[in-house]
Symmetry: C2
Subunit: 243 residues, 2 copies
């Protein structure tokens, strides 16, 4: 399973081949050696779990390719997709640091590559590199502000506005620009997950999508979305949201 570290797209590679977006940069020689021996790279198919809610923590993971969904479940079968993780993101570090079981599941939303770094390695790295703890802190704060934004939107926006906002975020991440100025996305998530992210039912999402089609601001075909004019879509909400 262990793979030697390779260079990728000219980025310096310590782990996960994601260059400066990763938390795993700027280590000294010994730390780098430690890291390469303690990490394992693995590919996941669509729907495969990286870790499951309730499981004990066994180290942290670092997304190297694809998209990973962070999901919370309850025992009534409810599922909410809380956030999306992309290459460079570290996941599972919270349960590692608090010494508790995973409070969420992490699921590959398409073919993905995720590295695993075992507990002993992380502990050693953390002890020798205070900067790593600081990077975790920055990451945690970033996620917290993201969660606060989310809570604010949940409380103030209509379902349609929430969906539009989500689409704009996804366009930023997954969008392909076309020559005529339109953009396309392959949604990484199902309608049900879209609904859970908005805080509504999947039927409602279907109906809102229908209205977006009628209004001509977006065209949906399965998970393929085309937005003729992103600025026009953004205009729906930028009168309501400030930076």
């Amino acid at each position: 399973m262990a793979q030697t570290c390779i260079r990728h797209a000219g980025q310096p590679c310590v782990v996960c081949h994601v260059g400066r977006r990763s938390d795993w940069q700027d280590f000294d020689q010994t730390a780098s050696a430690l890291l390469s021996s303690g990490r394992r790279r693995r590919e996941y198919g669509s729907g495969e779990l990286v870790f499951a809610q309730g499981e004990p923590n066994d180290g942290v993971h670092c997304v190297s390719g694809g998209t990973v969904g962070i999901r919370r479940l309850d025992d009534n079968g409810n599922s909410v997709l809380l956030e999306l993780a992309y290459p460079g993101d570290t996941i599972g570090y919270r349960s590692f640091l608090t010494g508790s079981e995973h409070k969420t599941s992490a699921e590959a939303l398409g073919p993905s590559v995720v590295c695993h770094i075992d507990r002993a390695t992380i502990a050693a790295l953390l002890a020798g590199n205070p900067a790593l703890g600081l990077r975790f802190l920055k990451r945690s704060i970033g996620e917290l502000e993201h969660a606060h934004d989310m809570m604010f939107r949940q409380a103030t926006l209509s379902n349609r506005h929430k969906l539009v906002h989500l689409l704009l975020v996804l366009v930023g991440r997954h969008g392909r620009r076309h020559s005529n100025g339109s953009q396309s996305i392959d949604l990484p998530v199902s309608r049900r997950d879209l609904a859970s992210m908005i805080g509504t039912r999947h039927e409602t999402i279907s109906r809102i999508i229908g209205r977006l089609e009628i209004d001509g601001v977006a065209h949906f075909s399965g998970r393929q979305v085309t937005i003729p004019n992103v600025a026009m879509l953004a205009a729906e909400i930028d009168c309501l949201i400030q930076a």
Copy 2:
């Protein structure tokens, strides 16, 4: 303004008189001296702002007494109360650590006492005490899990269930137990803020409160709430929420 450090209720006192609940414990002599010279204690009246959204950060604050609301505003006049801070909680550390302006306002929800520690002091303490950074990290992770819980509830519970849940949390924090087994709370927040925490309108909160009265599970009189049987109230949601 500076006050000498006093002992309070037998707790060791470094700052904020809150003993082991505080982030500001277990410092060595020099750090303690630095802290006592760099901190300032201040009392706030109900409604006074500790810091305001958009302001540049000027250090961190530590709640010593009372209750502080963390609020986000937009320029359409929407206001959402994101969380409540209690004695022992450190606030304003995020904008300090990210070097950005405050993304939320902090407002005394009643007569409160809050200590302020200036930037230079924090920076020096952080540099000399890696454990302090770790405590910030733990705090941040705790707030993040709290935010995730919130997002999950927003997406899965009905408004009534959300209000019941909020009442139960507030009973745990502010409740007074009576001899007959009932409990009372003085709500620290207005109905409008209650509504923003639930993600609905204040009129709706009024109506839900009316229904709770009819069902006999809670009695409201202004901000005074009496709950005859907390277990009965909890039964409304504990079939829906797991630990």
